[in-house]
Each structure stands twice: as structure tokens, then as C-alpha cells.
């Protein structure tokens, strides 16, 4: 008698909950998603190609612009790759400070994730609370290197700057502040019935599927796979610290949420240990005036806030620029899961799932 049609809806590239310029074409039956097409590329700037035309020191500040909410982690991945290529020994103090910066960056990035994720599900107060704490981290970064978003905070072979006097005291104070604040977020969300109903059982990825898709970072650990580059292939100074890798069980949105919340606490733990054991010494290793790695190629990965961030760099040993520069961005690889996750869920879950994967389009598109 009547025929019903599918409704094709274009979510993004201008949509408040697609975290930038992601475009998801949804085919809906009522409100249920029966198919989707994830379109990326609206923020493509050709970062990889750009890097092949800059000399080795200039690339650091281009990496800032990929995951722009976790610039220090991007810097760290790049400089460590080049150091590996050139076999440079990094002083211990520099490695400690790098670890502190990376963990502060993880906290800032997770604050942004928590705020936007909660906002997508409708809890707008959490958004402002989380940004309040992110602001403190940005203040710390500003005091360290002068910038609040794109830090350019590392050099091949070490660090450009030593920490300013009194900075370690402030980081310690921040660590003391953050713990109770995380409890506050949990009070608002973790046992909230509406939050549980919105996240439990939504977007389940079983462990083996997560590995097959190539997830990394909190989405992978939320599915119960204890993979963390910081533990498995320690870099910077992580081998010297004691911390736990939180994992989930069910692999749903709620588990990914819990994993990240626990990572706040583990980051604080790492920062405290690093501050306690901060050695004296130089902050820059023996680096030649002109950075020119020998011919060869290497891949090196770090655990960025969003997952495994890998750099593959090939040098021909002759020119001042990389021969090939390739990034394995965690957001891009994690985003692969989206189409599969949202199938069969409702429109409201789509925004929750985009939030739970924690993507940054600057990194997806590069």
C-alpha cells in the first residue's frame, strides 16, 4: 500500500559533533543507521609531501599541525625517529622532561576528548569542567615553551629549553589538583544511569576484531588487548617508571571511557615519578650542526594520546630533506572502525561513537 524510503542524511562536514570536518553519509531507516560512508579529506594539507621539502629541523613544527591538540606527542615521535636513524644518544634529563611533556599532553588531549564526548551525549557541564583543567596544562606548556597549542617543543637530540625554575613545583601542584577533578568527572558520569544507558553496549568491538581493523590506543585497550607502546617497546624514559595499562572487558563505549579516565590517573603517576627522579645534566646530546642522517630508513612508533603514532622516514643520505616521510596517524586508523561500529545503531549513537574513537581531523587528513 505504502512504500517507505531510506533517508540519506549528510552529517557534516559542517556539523557540531563530527569534531571538525568529518563527513558521514548516513543511510537511515527511521533513526536506525543501515549504512554509512565516511568521507575524509576536507583538511588535507599534504603534510607528508610538505615534510619532504623541509630540512630535518624544520619538520618538527610541521608535525605540530597534525594532531593539533597533542602537538608535543607528535614532536616526540618525529625527533625520536630521526634520533634512531642517526643513532643519537639523548641525555637522560632530556628524556625525563620529554616524558613529562608527553604525559601532560596526554592529559590535555584526554580533557578535550572527555569534554567533547560528554557534550555529544548531552552533558554540557563536563565539557567546561574538562576544559578548565586543560587550561591549566596549557598554562604549564606556555610557561615551558611560550606556546599554548603548537609547541615546537623538541629538538633532534634533546630539547631546545630546560625547564624554567619553579616549573616542576607547578607541575606537582597540577598533579595534586587533577586527581580530585577526575573523581569529579566520574561523579558526574560513571554511575549516571543515563550515561550508562547511552554508552553500555553501544559500539562493541571484540578484541580480535579490534586487532584486525588495526585499532590502537584506548579503543584497542577498551576491547581488552593490553597493547601499549610505552610498555611493549619503551621509548623516552618510560622503561624506568612504574605504571599500569588499564584495559576494558566488553569493548563498548563505556569501556573506552573508563580506560581513558584511568589513563588520567596513570599519567599523573608517571609525571610524579619523573619529577621525583629528574636527573641533572645536559638537555641536548651530541648533534652535528647540520642534521643529515645517513642513507637508510626506519619506522618508530610512540603511544600518542589517541593511539599508536608511527613515523616512517627514509633518508638518501645526500639531500637536506627526507627522501620519504610517512605518518601512521592513530586517528586515521581508528576511524576505519566507525562505519562498522555505527551500523545498526541510532543517529544519537553515531555522535557518541565518533566521540568515543577520539579523532582529530588534522591528523586524519594531514
Amino acid at each position: 500500500m505504502f512504500d517507505t524510503n531510506e533517508l540519506v542524511i549528510n552529517m557534516g562536514p559542517q556539523h557540531p559533533s563530527t569534531h571538525g570536518v568529518l563527513r558521514v553519509i548516513l543511510r537511515l531507516d527511521g533513526e536506525r543507521v543501515i549504512g554509512s560512508d565516511v568521507v575524509i579529506g576536507y583538511l588535507h594539507r599534504g603534510v607528508e609531501k610538505l615534510c619532504e621539502h623541509r630540512d630535518w629541523a624544520q619538520i618538527v613544527l610541521i608535525t605540530d599541525r597534525m594532531d593539533y591538540v597533542a602537538a608535543a606527542s607528535n614532536n616526540l615521535g618525529y625527533v625520536e625517529t630521526v634520533e634512531k636513524l642517526m643513532s643519537i644518544e639523548v641525555p637522560r634529563r632530556a628524556r625525563y622532561i620529554r616524558t613529562i611533556l608527553a604525559e601532560l599532553q596526554r592529559i590535555a588531549s584526554h580533557c578535550l576528548w572527555l569534554g567533547t564526548h560528554a557534550m555529544d551525549i548531552g552533558a554540557m557541564t563536563v565539557f567546561l569542567y574538562a576544559f578548565r583543567e586543560r587550561e591549566l596544562v596549557l598554562d604549564l606548556f606556555e610557561e615551558y615553551c611560550g606556546a599554548r597549542l603548537t609547541y615546537n617543543a623538541m629538538r633532534v637530540g634533546g630539547l631546545p629549553l630546560d625547564i624554567p625554575p619553579g616549573w616542576d613545583r607547578k607541575v606537582r601542584d597540577f598533579c595534586d589538583i587533577l586527581g580530585p577533578k577526575v573523581d569529579e568527572y566520574e561523579q558526574l558520569l560513571t554511575h549516571n544511569r543515563i550515561w550508562l544507558e547511552r554508552t553500555r553496549g553501544v559500539g562493541v568491538i571484540p578484541g580480535e576484531d579490534a586487532v584486525a581493523i588495526g585499532l590502537s590506543g584506548p579503543p584497542l585497550r577498551g576491547s581488552g588487548i593490553p597493547r601499549d607502546v610505552r610498555k611493549d617497546e619503551p621509548y623516552a624514559a618510560y622503561a624506568e617508571f612504574d605504571f599500569d595499562i588499564p584495559i576494558g572487558a566488553a569493548g563498548d563505549t563505556y569501556d573506552r571511557y573508563l580506560v581513558r579516565i584511568e589513563e588520567f590517573r596513570q599519567s599523573v603517576r608517571i609525571i610524579r615519578q619523573a619529577l621525583d627522579g629528574l636527573p641533572e645534566g645536559p638537555i641536548l646530546g651530541k648533534v652535528p650542526r647540520l642534521i643529515k642522517p645517513p642513507a637508510g630508513e626506519t619506522y618508530h612508533a610512540i603511544e600518542a594520546p589517541k593511539g599508536e603514532l608511527g613515523y616512517f622516514i627514509a633518508s638518501d643520505g645526500k639531500s637536506n630533506t627526507p627522501y620519504r616521510f610517512r605518518v601512521r596517524p592513530p586517528s586515521f586508523c581508528n576511524l576505519q572502525a566507525l562505519s562498522r561500529l555505527i551500523k545498526g545503531h541510532l543517529v544519537a549513537d553515531v555522535v557518541a561513537l565518533i566521540g568515543s574513537l577520539d579523532i582529530v581531523l588534522g591528523e586524519v587528513d594531514r
Partner: protein, 172 residues
């Protein structure tokens, strides 16, 4: 005087909206006119001193049932293909028959009420309303004199509801 002006204005509106409901091309517009029509009818009820009926008219018809109409109209694709064009002549014949039946009914009511003495009608309608309030009167009548029809009607609605669920549910 004031009342008759109000009544004829409302009556004109009701007829006008009624015509628009049938003639409007857009189904959603039809539904909107239908709601306007119901609201005007409710106002006539108020004029007659039947506030309860007026409110129920708004609550059940305008506020409930027509929302469901609108729901269906918006959800379902009502564009017909060219092959399914309706048979105009057959439609108008059916229309004529229906109109004739309606006319006969109205004249029957007119004749019947004219045959009864007017004062009795007024007495039967007006007196209890003024003293107790018509909500109580309607309630009293429904649960005493018209108890069986009332229960039968509720039974019927229940059956219809279960039937609708059975039809709509794919597996039980």
C-alpha cells in the same frame, strides 16, 4: 445578538475549513485545516455550554488523533504513480450517494426535533448543566444509563488496539 454573530462566523469557518480539507493538494495542509476545523467545532461546544465536550474534542481529536495522522502523512510517501490515477466518475458517483444519505439524516433530525416541543428539549439540556456542571453530568450518564454502550465501546477499542499491535509486529 452577539451569540448569533459568533455562531454564524464559526459555522462559516467550519464549512470553509471543511472545504479546504477536501480540496487542498498538500496532505499536510489538509491535516492543518482539519485541526483548525476541530478547534472551531470545540468553540461551538463552548457556546452551547458543553465545556467538557469542547475540551475532549481538542484533547482527543486535535491533540491526539490528528498528531498521529500527521505522523503517518510525514512518514509515508504519498506520491502516487501516474498509472494509479483515480477513476473520477466513479468517485463523484459515490460522493453523490454519500451526500444524499447525509442530507437525509440531517432532515430527519430537523423534522424529529421540530416535532418535539422546544421547551422540553431546552429543559432536558439546560437545567442539569447549570446546576451541577456538565463534566459531572456526562460522567453520571456514562456510568448509569449508558454503561453498556460505554463498556462495549471500550472493549472495541481494546480489540482494535491489540489487532493493530498484531498487524504491526513481525514476530510475536
Amino acid at each position: 445578538m452577539f451569540e448569533s454573530i459568533l455562531f454564524y462566523t464559526l459555522a462559516a469557518f467550519i464549512l470553509g475549513f471543511g472545504v479546504l480539507v477536501v480540496t487542498a493538494r498538500n496532505t499536510v495542509h489538509c491535516v492543518v485545516f482539519l485541526v483548525a476545523n476541530f478547534l472551531c467545532v470545540a468553540m461551538i461546544y463552548v457556546m452551547l455550554g458543553a465545556e467538557f465536550l469542547a475540551i475532549i474534542q481538542v484533547l482527543v481529536y486535535a491533540g491526539g488523533i490528528v498528531v498521529l495522522y500527521l505522523f503517518v502523512v510525514m512518514l509515508v510517501n504519498l506520491k502516487r504513480g501516474p498509472d494509479a490515477a483515480p477513476d473520477r466518475r466513479r468517485q463523484s458517483r459515490v460522493g453523490f450517494v454519500l451526500a444524499a444519505v447525509m442530507l437525509a439524516e440531517i432532515s430527519a433530525i430537523l423534522v424529529y426535533s421540530a416535532a418535539r416541543p422546544a421547551s422540553a428539549v431546552a429543559a432536558a439540556a439546560a437545567t442539569p448543566l447549570q446546576t451541577v456542571g456538565n463534566t459531572e453530568v456526562v460522567g453520571m450518564l456514562l456510568y448509569t444509563d449508558y454503561l453498556i454502550p460505554f463498556e462495549v465501546a471500550s472493549m472495541l477499542l481494546l480489540v482494535a488496539m491489540i489487532g493493530a499491535i498484531l498487524l504491526a509486529k513481525k514476530e510475536i
